[in-house]
Amino acid sequence: MGTNIKLAWRNLWRNKRRTLITVASIFFGVVFSAYMTSMQEGSYTKMVEIVVKFYSGYMQVHHEDYWENKSINNTFEYSSELKDMILANKDVDDVIPRLESFGLASSKELTKGSMIFGIDPQGEDKLNQLGLKVREGKYLQPNDSGVVIGAGLAKYLQLTVNDTLVIISQGYHGVSAADKFPIRGIIKHVSPELNKMIVYMSLPKCQEFFGAENRLTSLVVHVIDQDHMKRSLRRLKESIESPYSIMSWEEMQPEVVQQIESDRAGGVIMKAILYLVIAFGILGTIMMMIMERRREFGVMVAIGMKKAKLASVIFFETLFIGLLGVISGILFSLPLLYYQSANPIPLTGQAAELMEDFGFAPYMFFSVQWEVFSQQAISVFIITLIIAVYPVISILRLKAIKAMRG
Protein backbone atom coordinates (compact mmCIF):
# COMPACT_ATOMS: atom_id res chain seq x y z
CA MET A 1 0.00 0.00 0.00
CA GLY A 2 2.84 2.37 0.94
CA THR A 3 4.50 1.91 -2.46
CA ASN A 4 1.20 2.50 -4.25
CA ILE A 5 0.63 5.74 -2.37
CA LYS A 6 4.22 6.87 -2.96
CA LEU A 7 3.90 6.08 -6.65
CA ALA A 8 0.57 7.90 -6.88
CA TRP A 9 1.89 10.99 -5.12
CA ARG A 10 5.00 11.18 -7.33
CA ASN A 11 2.99 10.57 -10.48
CA LEU A 12 0.87 13.54 -9.57
CA TRP A 13 3.84 15.86 -9.97
CA ARG A 14 5.06 14.49 -13.30
CA ASN A 15 3.05 17.19 -15.01
CA LYS A 16 3.02 19.88 -12.36
CA ARG A 17 1.23 22.48 -14.43
CA ARG A 18 -1.65 20.17 -15.33
CA THR A 19 -2.04 18.94 -11.76
CA LEU A 20 -2.00 22.49 -10.42
CA ILE A 21 -4.58 23.66 -12.97
CA THR A 22 -6.89 20.78 -12.02
CA VAL A 23 -6.35 21.38 -8.31
CA ALA A 24 -6.99 25.10 -8.87
CA SER A 25 -10.30 24.37 -10.61
CA ILE A 26 -11.41 22.32 -7.60
CA PHE A 27 -10.04 24.98 -5.25
CA PHE A 28 -12.08 27.76 -6.87
CA GLY A 29 -15.14 25.51 -7.05
CA VAL A 30 -14.90 24.73 -3.33
CA VAL A 31 -14.31 28.36 -2.37
CA PHE A 32 -17.20 29.61 -4.54
CA SER A 33 -19.52 26.85 -3.39
CA ALA A 34 -18.61 27.31 0.30
CA TYR A 35 -19.11 31.08 -0.03
CA MET A 36 -22.52 30.59 -1.65
CA THR A 37 -23.59 27.96 0.91
CA SER A 38 -22.35 30.11 3.78
CA MET A 39 -24.35 33.10 2.52
CA GLN A 40 -27.47 30.99 2.04
CA GLU A 41 -27.23 29.31 5.42
CA GLY A 42 -26.39 32.63 7.09
CA SER A 43 -29.55 34.21 5.70
CA TYR A 44 -31.67 31.18 6.70
CA THR A 45 -30.29 31.33 10.24
CA LYS A 46 -31.24 34.98 10.43
CA MET A 47 -34.66 34.25 8.98
CA VAL A 48 -35.24 31.53 11.57
CA GLU A 49 -34.00 33.85 14.30
CA ILE A 50 -36.56 36.49 13.28
CA VAL A 51 -39.35 33.94 13.08
CA VAL A 52 -38.41 32.45 16.41
CA LYS A 53 -37.85 35.77 18.13
CA PHE A 54 -40.86 37.70 16.96
CA TYR A 55 -43.46 35.08 16.24
CA SER A 56 -43.47 31.63 17.61
CA GLY A 57 -40.35 31.01 19.68
CA TYR A 58 -38.50 27.72 19.12
CA MET A 59 -41.35 25.66 20.54
CA GLN A 60 -44.82 26.22 21.93
CA VAL A 61 -46.98 24.23 24.29
CA HIS A 62 -50.71 24.46 23.52
CA HIS A 63 -53.91 22.78 24.43
CA GLU A 64 -53.97 19.77 22.10
CA ASP A 65 -56.97 21.19 20.14
CA TYR A 66 -55.68 24.74 19.85
CA TRP A 67 -53.60 24.49 16.67
CA GLU A 68 -56.53 23.00 14.70
CA ASN A 69 -58.99 25.49 16.07
CA LYS A 70 -57.37 28.66 17.34
CA SER A 71 -60.25 29.61 19.62
CA ILE A 72 -59.94 31.13 23.06
CA ASN A 73 -62.03 28.18 24.24
CA ASN A 74 -59.06 25.92 23.48
CA THR A 75 -56.85 27.54 26.08
CA PHE A 76 -55.36 25.77 29.08
CA GLU A 77 -54.85 26.64 32.70
CA TYR A 78 -51.37 27.90 33.51
CA SER A 79 -49.81 25.66 36.13
CA SER A 80 -46.43 25.96 37.76
CA GLU A 81 -46.06 22.15 37.53
CA LEU A 82 -46.20 22.35 33.74
CA LYS A 83 -43.71 25.21 33.68
CA ASP A 84 -41.35 23.43 36.09
CA MET A 85 -41.57 20.21 34.09
CA ILE A 86 -40.55 22.07 30.92
CA LEU A 87 -37.80 24.01 32.69
CA ALA A 88 -36.40 20.72 34.06
CA ASN A 89 -35.12 20.04 30.53
CA LYS A 90 -31.50 21.19 30.58
CA ASP A 91 -31.67 22.62 27.05
CA VAL A 92 -34.59 24.94 27.96
CA ASP A 93 -33.67 28.49 28.86
CA ASP A 94 -37.06 30.02 29.65
CA VAL A 95 -40.81 29.56 29.34
CA ILE A 96 -42.96 32.58 28.43
CA PRO A 97 -46.77 32.57 28.70
CA ARG A 98 -49.06 34.08 26.04
CA LEU A 99 -52.76 34.53 25.51
CA GLU A 100 -53.62 35.31 21.90
CA SER A 101 -56.98 36.11 20.34
CA PHE A 102 -58.73 38.38 17.87
CA GLY A 103 -60.88 41.42 18.32
CA LEU A 104 -62.15 44.58 16.70
CA ALA A 105 -60.06 47.62 17.53
CA SER A 106 -61.88 50.96 17.19
CA SER A 107 -61.39 54.64 17.45
CA LYS A 108 -64.16 57.08 16.65
CA GLU A 109 -65.73 55.79 13.42
CA LEU A 110 -62.78 53.61 12.46
CA THR A 111 -62.59 49.87 13.15
CA LYS A 112 -60.02 47.25 12.25
CA GLY A 113 -59.60 43.56 12.97
CA SER A 114 -56.65 43.07 15.27
CA MET A 115 -54.54 40.40 16.90
CA ILE A 116 -54.43 40.71 20.65
CA PHE A 117 -51.38 39.38 22.42
CA GLY A 118 -51.46 39.05 26.18
CA ILE A 119 -47.80 38.89 27.15
CA ASP A 120 -45.43 38.81 30.06
CA PRO A 121 -43.69 42.12 29.15
CA GLN A 122 -40.39 41.21 30.83
CA GLY A 123 -40.24 37.68 29.48
CA GLU A 124 -41.15 38.81 25.97
CA ASP A 125 -38.55 41.57 26.08
CA LYS A 126 -35.95 39.01 27.08
CA LEU A 127 -36.94 36.76 24.18
CA ASN A 128 -37.21 39.33 21.40
CA GLN A 129 -36.21 42.74 22.75
CA LEU A 130 -39.75 43.95 22.05
CA GLY A 131 -39.14 47.06 24.17
CA LEU A 132 -36.52 48.22 21.69
CA LYS A 133 -39.11 48.22 18.90
CA VAL A 134 -41.24 50.87 20.62
CA ARG A 135 -41.04 53.98 18.43
CA GLU A 136 -43.27 56.27 20.47
CA GLY A 137 -44.27 56.23 24.12
CA LYS A 138 -43.10 53.44 26.37
CA TYR A 139 -43.14 49.69 26.69
CA LEU A 140 -45.59 47.76 28.89
CA GLN A 141 -45.12 47.19 32.62
CA PRO A 142 -45.87 43.75 34.15
CA ASN A 143 -49.41 44.58 35.30
CA ASP A 144 -50.02 47.42 32.89
CA SER A 145 -53.66 48.23 32.09
CA GLY A 146 -52.72 49.92 28.83
CA VAL A 147 -51.68 48.61 25.43
CA VAL A 148 -48.86 48.92 22.92
CA ILE A 149 -50.08 48.85 19.32
CA GLY A 150 -48.49 48.42 15.93
CA ALA A 151 -47.56 51.60 14.04
CA GLY A 152 -49.72 50.55 11.07
CA LEU A 153 -52.77 50.04 13.26
CA ALA A 154 -52.16 53.37 15.02
CA LYS A 155 -51.93 55.11 11.67
CA TYR A 156 -55.14 53.48 10.38
CA LEU A 157 -57.08 54.30 13.53
CA GLN A 158 -55.47 57.77 13.68
CA LEU A 159 -54.29 57.17 17.22
CA THR A 160 -51.21 58.18 19.10
CA VAL A 161 -49.70 57.70 22.56
CA ASN A 162 -52.11 58.42 25.46
CA ASP A 163 -55.15 58.11 23.16
CA THR A 164 -57.76 55.47 23.98
CA LEU A 165 -58.30 52.30 22.01
CA VAL A 166 -61.57 50.42 22.20
CA ILE A 167 -61.54 46.65 21.70
CA ILE A 168 -64.59 44.46 21.25
CA SER A 169 -64.29 40.68 21.15
CA GLN A 170 -65.73 37.42 22.36
CA GLY A 171 -64.17 36.03 25.50
CA TYR A 172 -63.75 32.60 27.05
CA HIS A 173 -66.88 30.45 26.68
CA GLY A 174 -68.75 33.19 24.83
CA VAL A 175 -68.57 35.98 27.36
CA SER A 176 -68.61 39.49 25.96
CA ALA A 177 -65.29 41.23 25.95
CA ALA A 178 -65.25 45.00 25.52
CA ASP A 179 -63.02 47.59 27.10
CA LYS A 180 -61.11 50.84 26.64
CA PHE A 181 -57.33 50.85 26.81
CA PRO A 182 -54.93 53.74 27.05
CA ILE A 183 -52.18 53.56 24.45
CA ARG A 184 -48.79 53.40 26.22
CA GLY A 185 -46.66 53.04 23.16
CA ILE A 186 -46.52 52.49 19.43
CA ILE A 187 -44.33 49.72 18.14
CA LYS A 188 -42.83 49.10 14.73
CA HIS A 189 -43.17 45.36 14.38
CA VAL A 190 -40.74 43.53 12.12
CA SER A 191 -43.64 42.02 10.15
CA PRO A 192 -45.49 44.57 7.99
CA GLU A 193 -48.65 42.44 8.32
CA LEU A 194 -48.54 42.30 12.11
CA ASN A 195 -47.66 45.97 12.22
CA LYS A 196 -51.13 46.73 10.87
CA MET A 197 -53.02 44.61 13.39
CA ILE A 198 -50.99 43.89 16.53
CA VAL A 199 -52.11 44.90 20.01
CA TYR A 200 -49.92 43.97 22.99
CA MET A 201 -51.28 44.04 26.51
CA SER A 202 -50.06 42.63 29.79
CA LEU A 203 -51.09 39.04 30.41
CA PRO A 204 -53.23 39.70 33.54
CA LYS A 205 -55.10 42.48 31.73
CA CYS A 206 -55.64 40.31 28.68
CA GLN A 207 -56.89 37.38 30.79
CA GLU A 208 -59.28 39.74 32.58
CA PHE A 209 -60.48 41.21 29.27
CA PHE A 210 -61.26 37.79 27.77
CA GLY A 211 -62.65 36.41 31.02
CA ALA A 212 -59.99 33.73 30.84
CA GLU A 213 -58.45 33.97 34.25
CA ASN A 214 -55.11 32.17 34.53
CA ARG A 215 -55.61 30.70 31.05
CA LEU A 216 -53.13 30.67 28.19
CA THR A 217 -53.14 29.86 24.50
CA SER A 218 -49.44 29.03 24.52
CA LEU A 219 -46.28 28.65 26.51
CA VAL A 220 -43.32 29.76 24.40
CA VAL A 221 -40.32 27.53 25.10
CA HIS A 222 -36.95 29.16 24.56
CA VAL A 223 -33.87 26.93 24.21
CA ILE A 224 -30.30 27.77 25.18
CA ASP A 225 -28.78 26.50 21.95
CA GLN A 226 -30.69 26.29 18.67
CA ASP A 227 -28.62 23.26 17.68
CA HIS A 228 -30.11 21.28 20.57
CA MET A 229 -33.69 22.17 19.75
CA LYS A 230 -34.48 18.86 18.11
CA ARG A 231 -33.17 16.93 21.09
CA SER A 232 -35.18 18.96 23.61
CA LEU A 233 -38.29 18.77 21.38
CA ARG A 234 -38.01 14.99 21.30
CA ARG A 235 -37.66 14.83 25.07
CA LEU A 236 -40.51 17.25 25.69
CA LYS A 237 -42.78 15.37 23.28
CA GLU A 238 -42.14 12.28 25.33
CA SER A 239 -42.94 13.97 28.64
CA ILE A 240 -45.83 16.27 27.66
CA GLU A 241 -49.15 14.45 27.73
CA SER A 242 -52.77 15.19 26.93
CA PRO A 243 -54.39 17.74 27.16
CA TYR A 244 -51.19 19.50 26.13
CA SER A 245 -49.19 19.27 22.96
CA ILE A 246 -45.84 20.75 21.95
CA MET A 247 -44.89 22.00 18.48
CA SER A 248 -41.62 23.19 16.99
CA TRP A 249 -41.34 26.40 15.03
CA GLU A 250 -41.03 24.26 11.86
CA GLU A 251 -44.42 22.69 12.56
CA MET A 252 -45.98 26.05 13.33
CA GLN A 253 -44.37 27.89 10.39
CA PRO A 254 -44.25 25.33 7.56
CA GLU A 255 -44.25 28.12 4.95
CA VAL A 256 -40.90 29.38 6.28
CA VAL A 257 -39.47 25.86 6.15
CA GLN A 258 -40.80 25.49 2.60
CA GLN A 259 -39.28 28.82 1.56
CA ILE A 260 -35.88 27.80 2.96
CA GLU A 261 -36.10 24.37 1.34
CA SER A 262 -37.01 25.76 -2.09
CA ASP A 263 -34.21 28.31 -1.86
CA ARG A 264 -31.81 25.56 -0.81
CA ALA A 265 -32.92 23.49 -3.81
CA GLY A 266 -32.01 26.43 -6.08
CA GLY A 267 -28.59 26.53 -4.44
CA VAL A 268 -28.16 22.80 -4.90
CA ILE A 269 -28.80 23.15 -8.67
CA MET A 270 -26.21 25.93 -8.89
CA LYS A 271 -23.69 23.86 -6.99
CA ALA A 272 -24.48 20.78 -9.06
CA ILE A 273 -23.67 22.73 -12.25
CA LEU A 274 -20.47 24.03 -10.68
CA TYR A 275 -19.38 20.58 -9.56
CA LEU A 276 -20.28 19.11 -12.92
CA VAL A 277 -17.81 21.53 -14.55
CA ILE A 278 -15.20 20.54 -11.95
CA ALA A 279 -15.94 16.86 -12.54
CA PHE A 280 -15.29 17.20 -16.27
CA GLY A 281 -12.06 19.05 -15.49
CA ILE A 282 -10.84 16.20 -13.31
CA LEU A 283 -12.04 13.60 -15.81
CA GLY A 284 -10.15 15.36 -18.62
CA THR A 285 -6.95 15.32 -16.58
CA ILE A 286 -7.36 11.66 -15.68
CA MET A 287 -8.08 10.71 -19.30
CA MET A 288 -4.97 12.54 -20.49
CA MET A 289 -2.95 10.90 -17.75
CA ILE A 290 -4.16 7.45 -18.75
CA MET A 291 -3.49 8.05 -22.44
CA GLU A 292 0.01 9.38 -21.87
CA ARG A 293 0.99 6.53 -19.59
CA ARG A 294 -0.61 3.63 -21.41
CA ARG A 295 2.76 2.23 -22.44
CA GLU A 296 4.07 2.52 -18.89
CA PHE A 297 0.99 0.72 -17.56
CA GLY A 298 1.61 -2.02 -20.12
CA VAL A 299 5.19 -2.42 -18.89
CA MET A 300 4.08 -2.54 -15.25
CA VAL A 301 1.56 -5.29 -15.98
CA ALA A 302 4.14 -7.09 -18.14
CA ILE A 303 6.68 -7.23 -15.33
CA GLY A 304 4.07 -8.60 -12.95
CA MET A 305 2.07 -5.79 -11.37
CA LYS A 306 -1.50 -6.92 -10.81
CA LYS A 307 -4.02 -4.77 -12.62
CA ALA A 308 -5.97 -4.23 -9.41
CA LYS A 309 -2.83 -2.88 -7.77
CA LEU A 310 -2.12 -0.60 -10.71
CA ALA A 311 -5.75 0.59 -10.66
CA SER A 312 -5.35 1.44 -6.97
CA VAL A 313 -2.35 3.67 -7.80
CA ILE A 314 -4.46 5.61 -10.31
CA PHE A 315 -7.33 5.69 -7.84
CA PHE A 316 -5.02 7.30 -5.28
CA GLU A 317 -3.83 9.82 -7.86
CA THR A 318 -7.44 10.83 -8.56
CA LEU A 319 -8.15 10.98 -4.86
CA PHE A 320 -5.06 13.12 -4.19
CA ILE A 321 -6.11 15.64 -6.83
CA GLY A 322 -9.54 15.88 -5.21
CA LEU A 323 -8.12 16.10 -1.69
CA LEU A 324 -5.59 18.78 -2.60
CA GLY A 325 -8.33 20.90 -4.17
CA VAL A 326 -10.72 20.40 -1.26
CA ILE A 327 -8.17 20.93 1.51
CA SER A 328 -6.70 24.06 -0.07
CA GLY A 329 -10.22 25.35 -0.84
CA ILE A 330 -11.41 24.79 2.72
CA LEU A 331 -8.23 26.26 4.22
CA PHE A 332 -8.81 29.41 2.17
CA SER A 333 -12.58 29.53 2.81
CA LEU A 334 -12.32 29.09 6.59
CA PRO A 335 -10.67 32.42 7.47
CA LEU A 336 -12.55 34.21 4.68
CA LEU A 337 -15.95 33.04 5.89
CA TYR A 338 -15.10 33.55 9.55
CA TYR A 339 -14.21 37.13 8.65
CA GLN A 340 -17.42 37.56 6.65
CA SER A 341 -19.43 36.01 9.46
CA ALA A 342 -18.02 38.56 11.91
CA ASN A 343 -18.32 41.36 9.35
CA PRO A 344 -21.51 40.85 7.33
CA ILE A 345 -21.74 42.74 4.03
CA PRO A 346 -23.96 45.82 4.47
CA LEU A 347 -26.68 46.34 1.86
CA THR A 348 -27.58 49.75 0.54
CA GLY A 349 -30.40 51.39 -1.41
CA GLN A 350 -33.60 49.54 -2.27
CA ALA A 351 -32.21 46.16 -1.25
CA ALA A 352 -31.55 47.49 2.25
CA GLU A 353 -35.05 49.03 2.45
CA LEU A 354 -36.65 45.81 1.30
CA MET A 355 -34.77 43.81 3.93
CA GLU A 356 -35.72 46.29 6.64
CA ASP A 357 -39.38 46.18 5.57
CA PHE A 358 -39.35 42.44 6.17
CA GLY A 359 -37.80 42.89 9.56
CA PHE A 360 -34.32 41.79 8.53
CA ALA A 361 -31.17 43.71 9.24
CA PRO A 362 -29.87 45.09 5.90
CA TYR A 363 -26.82 42.83 5.75
CA MET A 364 -25.69 39.71 3.93
CA PHE A 365 -25.05 37.28 6.75
CA PHE A 366 -22.66 34.32 6.56
CA SER A 367 -22.75 31.01 8.34
CA VAL A 368 -19.67 29.13 9.52
CA GLN A 369 -21.46 25.91 10.43
CA TRP A 370 -19.29 22.87 9.81
CA GLU A 371 -21.78 21.68 7.17
CA VAL A 372 -20.80 24.61 4.94
CA PHE A 373 -17.34 23.05 4.59
CA SER A 374 -18.11 19.36 5.00
CA GLN A 375 -20.66 19.54 2.15
CA GLN A 376 -17.89 20.60 -0.25
CA ALA A 377 -15.52 17.92 0.98
CA ILE A 378 -18.16 15.21 0.64
CA SER A 379 -19.26 16.45 -2.82
CA VAL A 380 -15.72 16.46 -4.23
CA PHE A 381 -14.98 13.11 -2.60
CA ILE A 382 -18.05 11.55 -4.24
CA ILE A 383 -17.15 13.15 -7.61
CA THR A 384 -13.62 11.78 -7.26
CA LEU A 385 -14.92 8.31 -6.48
CA ILE A 386 -17.20 8.38 -9.52
CA ILE A 387 -14.41 9.66 -11.80
CA ALA A 388 -11.99 7.07 -10.43
CA VAL A 389 -14.20 4.38 -11.94
CA TYR A 390 -12.97 5.37 -15.43
CA PRO A 391 -9.22 4.70 -14.89
CA VAL A 392 -9.98 1.59 -12.88
CA ILE A 393 -12.06 0.15 -15.75
CA SER A 394 -9.44 1.25 -18.31
CA ILE A 395 -6.71 -0.55 -16.41
CA LEU A 396 -8.71 -3.68 -15.77
CA ARG A 397 -9.35 -3.89 -19.54
CA LEU A 398 -5.74 -3.09 -20.44
CA LYS A 399 -3.85 -5.55 -22.66
CA ALA A 400 -0.17 -5.26 -21.79
CA ILE A 401 1.10 -6.07 -25.26
CA LYS A 402 -1.21 -3.57 -26.99
CA ALA A 403 -0.42 -0.90 -24.42
CA MET A 404 3.33 -1.38 -24.91
CA ARG A 405 2.98 -1.15 -28.67
CA GLY A 406 1.24 2.19 -28.06
Binding site: V299, M300, A302, I303, G304
Partner: protein
Protein backbone atom coordinates in the same frame (compact mmCIF):
# COMPACT_ATOMS: atom_id res chain seq x y z
CA UNK B 1 17.69 -29.62 -18.39
CA UNK B 2 15.13 -27.72 -20.46
CA UNK B 3 13.43 -24.87 -18.70
CA UNK B 4 11.56 -23.70 -21.81
CA UNK B 5 9.94 -25.97 -24.35
CA UNK B 6 8.30 -24.42 -27.40
CA UNK B 7 6.17 -26.87 -29.32
CA UNK B 8 4.85 -26.25 -32.86
CA UNK B 9 4.13 -22.61 -32.16
CA UNK B 10 2.04 -20.56 -34.59
CA UNK B 11 0.94 -16.97 -34.49
CA UNK B 12 -1.33 -15.62 -37.17
CA UNK B 13 -2.47 -12.01 -37.21
CA UNK B 14 -5.73 -11.72 -39.10
CA UNK B 15 -6.84 -8.29 -37.95
CA UNK B 16 -6.52 -6.88 -41.46
CA UNK B 17 -7.66 -8.39 -44.77
CA UNK B 18 -4.26 -10.04 -45.24
CA UNK B 19 -3.39 -12.79 -42.75
CA UNK B 20 0.16 -12.56 -41.43
CA UNK B 21 1.81 -15.76 -40.27
CA UNK B 22 4.23 -14.09 -37.85
CA UNK B 23 5.38 -17.33 -36.20
CA UNK B 24 5.13 -20.46 -38.29
CA UNK B 25 5.53 -23.82 -36.60
CA UNK B 26 8.47 -23.05 -34.33
CA UNK B 27 9.72 -25.68 -31.90
CA UNK B 28 12.64 -24.84 -29.65
CA UNK B 29 14.03 -25.75 -26.24
CA UNK B 30 16.11 -23.60 -23.88
CA UNK B 31 18.22 -24.95 -21.07
CA UNK B 32 19.03 -23.31 -17.77
CA UNK B 33 21.88 -20.81 -18.02
CA UNK B 34 21.75 -20.29 -21.80
CA UNK B 35 22.86 -16.99 -23.34
CA UNK B 36 20.92 -17.04 -26.59
CA UNK B 37 20.18 -14.55 -29.32
CA UNK B 38 17.24 -14.70 -31.69
CA UNK B 39 18.21 -12.83 -34.84
CA UNK B 40 16.51 -11.97 -38.04
CA UNK B 41 15.44 -9.02 -40.16
CA UNK B 42 12.65 -6.68 -39.13
CA UNK B 43 9.26 -8.40 -39.37
CA UNK B 44 10.78 -11.86 -39.18
CA UNK B 45 8.75 -12.71 -36.05
CA UNK B 46 11.43 -12.55 -33.35
CA UNK B 47 9.61 -10.00 -31.18
CA UNK B 48 6.34 -11.92 -31.57
CA UNK B 49 8.11 -15.08 -30.45
CA UNK B 50 9.61 -13.24 -27.48
CA UNK B 51 6.22 -11.77 -26.52
CA UNK B 52 4.66 -15.24 -26.54
CA UNK B 53 7.57 -16.59 -24.50
CA UNK B 54 6.91 -13.84 -21.97
CA UNK B 55 3.20 -14.65 -21.82
CA UNK B 56 2.37 -11.22 -23.19
CA UNK B 57 0.82 -12.55 -26.38
CA UNK B 58 -1.14 -15.74 -27.03
CA UNK B 59 -0.19 -18.20 -29.76
CA UNK B 60 -2.73 -19.14 -32.38
CA UNK B 61 -1.62 -22.73 -31.99
CA UNK B 62 1.07 -24.71 -30.17
CA UNK B 63 2.33 -24.64 -26.61
CA UNK B 64 5.02 -23.06 -24.49
CA UNK B 65 6.01 -25.02 -21.40
CA UNK B 66 8.07 -23.34 -18.72
CA UNK B 67 9.23 -25.85 -16.13
CA UNK B 68 6.33 -27.99 -17.29
CA UNK B 69 3.76 -25.19 -16.82
CA UNK B 70 1.79 -24.54 -19.99
CA UNK B 71 2.01 -20.75 -20.12
CA UNK B 72 -1.10 -20.14 -22.15
CA UNK B 73 -3.33 -22.39 -20.10
CA UNK B 74 -2.97 -19.97 -17.19
CA UNK B 75 -5.71 -17.47 -16.40
CA UNK B 76 -4.91 -13.78 -16.84
CA UNK B 77 -4.23 -13.12 -13.13
CA UNK B 78 -2.20 -16.36 -12.82
CA UNK B 79 -0.18 -15.35 -15.85
CA UNK B 80 0.66 -11.95 -14.34
CA UNK B 81 1.83 -13.67 -11.17
CA UNK B 82 3.76 -16.26 -13.17
CA UNK B 83 5.57 -13.50 -15.05
CA UNK B 84 6.41 -11.73 -11.81
CA UNK B 85 7.92 -14.86 -10.27
CA UNK B 86 9.62 -16.43 -13.30
CA UNK B 87 10.36 -13.99 -16.12
CA UNK B 88 12.54 -10.91 -16.29
CA UNK B 89 12.07 -8.34 -19.05
CA UNK B 90 14.48 -5.89 -20.63
CA UNK B 91 12.92 -3.60 -23.23
CA UNK B 92 14.45 -1.65 -26.06
CA UNK B 93 13.22 1.67 -24.62
CA UNK B 94 14.29 0.75 -21.05
CA UNK B 95 10.77 1.43 -19.76
CA UNK B 96 11.74 2.30 -16.22
CA UNK B 97 9.15 3.92 -13.97
CA UNK B 98 10.09 7.59 -14.30
CA UNK B 99 8.97 8.69 -10.84
CA UNK B 100 11.04 6.06 -9.03
CA UNK B 101 14.77 6.21 -8.40
CA UNK B 102 17.12 3.56 -9.78
CA UNK B 103 17.01 1.74 -6.44
CA UNK B 104 13.22 1.94 -6.24
CA UNK B 105 12.87 0.69 -9.81
CA UNK B 106 14.93 -2.38 -8.98
CA UNK B 107 13.12 -2.89 -5.69
CA UNK B 108 9.70 -2.45 -7.27
CA UNK B 109 9.22 -6.03 -8.41
CA UNK B 110 10.36 -7.33 -5.03
CA UNK B 111 7.67 -5.16 -3.45
CA UNK B 112 5.19 -6.91 -5.72
CA UNK B 113 6.62 -10.24 -4.51
CA UNK B 114 6.18 -9.10 -0.89
CA UNK B 115 9.88 -9.61 -0.11
CA UNK B 116 10.97 -8.16 3.22
CA UNK B 117 12.86 -4.87 3.40
CA UNK B 118 16.22 -6.39 4.31
CA UNK B 119 16.11 -8.88 1.46
CA UNK B 120 14.99 -6.16 -0.97
CA UNK B 121 17.74 -3.77 -0.01
CA UNK B 122 20.50 -6.37 -0.06
CA UNK B 123 19.52 -7.71 -3.47
CA UNK B 124 18.98 -4.22 -4.92
CA UNK B 125 22.34 -2.94 -3.76
CA UNK B 126 24.15 -6.07 -4.94
CA UNK B 127 22.51 -5.86 -8.38
CA UNK B 128 23.18 -2.13 -8.74
CA UNK B 129 26.79 -2.83 -7.82
CA UNK B 130 26.91 -5.65 -10.35
CA UNK B 131 25.65 -3.34 -13.13
CA UNK B 132 28.11 -0.62 -12.11
CA UNK B 133 25.60 1.86 -10.74
CA UNK B 134 26.77 2.03 -7.17
CA UNK B 135 26.39 5.65 -6.06
CA UNK B 136 23.63 6.37 -8.59
CA UNK B 137 20.92 4.45 -6.73
CA UNK B 138 19.03 7.60 -5.79
CA UNK B 139 18.97 9.04 -9.30
CA UNK B 140 15.72 9.05 -11.22
CA UNK B 141 15.78 7.67 -14.80
CA UNK B 142 15.74 11.17 -16.30
CA UNK B 143 19.10 11.83 -14.62
CA UNK B 144 20.71 8.70 -16.08
CA UNK B 145 22.13 8.12 -19.55
CA UNK B 146 20.52 5.58 -21.90
CA UNK B 147 23.17 3.00 -21.08
CA UNK B 148 22.74 3.54 -17.35
CA UNK B 149 18.96 3.27 -17.65
CA UNK B 150 19.31 0.00 -19.52
CA UNK B 151 21.63 -1.30 -16.81
CA UNK B 152 18.97 -0.43 -14.22
CA UNK B 153 16.47 -2.30 -16.42
CA UNK B 154 18.76 -5.35 -16.37
CA UNK B 155 19.05 -5.14 -12.57
CA UNK B 156 15.25 -4.85 -12.36
CA UNK B 157 14.82 -7.88 -14.62
CA UNK B 158 17.07 -9.93 -12.35
CA UNK B 159 15.69 -8.63 -9.05
CA UNK B 160 12.90 -11.17 -8.89
CA UNK B 161 15.37 -14.05 -9.40
CA UNK B 162 13.58 -15.15 -12.58
CA UNK B 163 14.08 -18.44 -14.39
CA UNK B 164 14.94 -16.51 -17.55
CA UNK B 165 15.28 -12.98 -18.89
CA UNK B 166 13.79 -11.86 -22.17
CA UNK B 167 15.57 -8.89 -23.71
CA UNK B 168 13.93 -7.29 -26.74
CA UNK B 169 16.54 -5.36 -28.75
CA UNK B 170 18.25 -4.22 -25.51
CA UNK B 171 21.12 -2.46 -27.27
CA UNK B 172 19.18 -0.82 -30.08
CA UNK B 173 19.25 2.61 -28.45
CA UNK B 174 22.78 2.41 -27.05
CA UNK B 175 26.15 3.59 -28.31
CA UNK B 176 29.05 1.14 -28.76
CA UNK B 177 30.61 1.75 -25.38
CA UNK B 178 27.31 1.33 -23.51
CA UNK B 179 26.51 -1.76 -25.56
CA UNK B 180 29.85 -3.33 -24.67
CA UNK B 181 29.37 -2.53 -20.99
CA UNK B 182 25.81 -3.85 -20.96
CA UNK B 183 26.69 -7.07 -22.74
CA UNK B 184 29.62 -7.72 -20.39
CA UNK B 185 27.37 -7.14 -17.38
CA UNK B 186 24.69 -9.46 -18.71
CA UNK B 187 27.24 -12.12 -19.58
CA UNK B 188 28.73 -11.86 -16.11
CA UNK B 189 25.30 -12.05 -14.41
CA UNK B 190 24.39 -15.01 -16.62
CA UNK B 191 27.44 -16.82 -15.35
CA UNK B 192 27.07 -15.71 -11.72
CA UNK B 193 23.34 -16.21 -11.29
CA UNK B 194 23.02 -18.99 -13.84
CA UNK B 195 19.95 -17.29 -15.31
CA UNK B 196 18.96 -17.93 -18.92
CA UNK B 197 19.12 -14.85 -21.18
CA UNK B 198 17.21 -14.77 -24.47
CA UNK B 199 17.75 -11.76 -26.71
CA UNK B 200 15.90 -10.65 -29.77
CA UNK B 201 18.36 -8.57 -31.74
CA UNK B 202 19.92 -7.68 -35.01
CA UNK B 203 22.94 -6.15 -33.33
CA UNK B 204 26.04 -8.06 -34.43
CA UNK B 205 27.80 -7.28 -31.14
CA UNK B 206 25.07 -9.15 -29.25
CA UNK B 207 25.29 -12.01 -31.72
CA UNK B 208 29.01 -12.19 -31.17
CA UNK B 209 28.58 -12.49 -27.40
CA UNK B 210 25.70 -15.01 -27.56
CA UNK B 211 26.58 -18.68 -27.07
CA UNK B 212 23.58 -19.75 -29.11
CA UNK B 213 22.21 -17.94 -32.15
CA UNK B 214 18.74 -18.73 -33.52
CA UNK B 215 17.95 -17.17 -36.86
CA UNK B 216 14.37 -16.58 -37.87
CA UNK B 217 12.98 -15.53 -41.22
CA UNK B 218 9.32 -15.26 -42.18
CA UNK B 219 8.33 -16.76 -38.85
CA UNK B 220 10.43 -19.88 -39.24
CA UNK B 221 13.68 -20.96 -37.61
CA UNK B 222 16.22 -21.22 -40.37
CA UNK B 223 19.24 -21.93 -38.19
CA UNK B 224 20.00 -22.69 -34.55
CA UNK B 225 23.72 -22.54 -33.81
CA UNK B 226 25.26 -23.43 -30.47
CA UNK B 227 28.72 -21.91 -30.49
CA UNK B 228 30.08 -24.14 -27.72
CA UNK B 229 29.27 -27.31 -29.72
CA UNK B 230 29.42 -25.65 -33.14
CA UNK B 231 26.49 -27.72 -34.33
CA UNK B 232 23.72 -26.62 -36.57
CA UNK B 233 20.42 -28.12 -35.55
CA UNK B 234 18.54 -26.88 -38.50
Amino acid sequence: MNIIEIKELHKIYDESEVKVHAVNNISLNFEKGEFAAIVGPSGSGKTTLLNMLGGLDKPTDGNILIDNTNLHKLRSSELIRFRMMNIGFVFQAYNLIPVLTAKENVEFIMHLQNKNKKEREERTMSLLKAVGLEGRENSRPSKLSGGQQQRVAVARALASKPKFVLADEPTANLDSKSTEQLLSIMEELNKQEHITFIFSTHDQRVVNKARRVITIEDGKVISDIRKDVESDSK
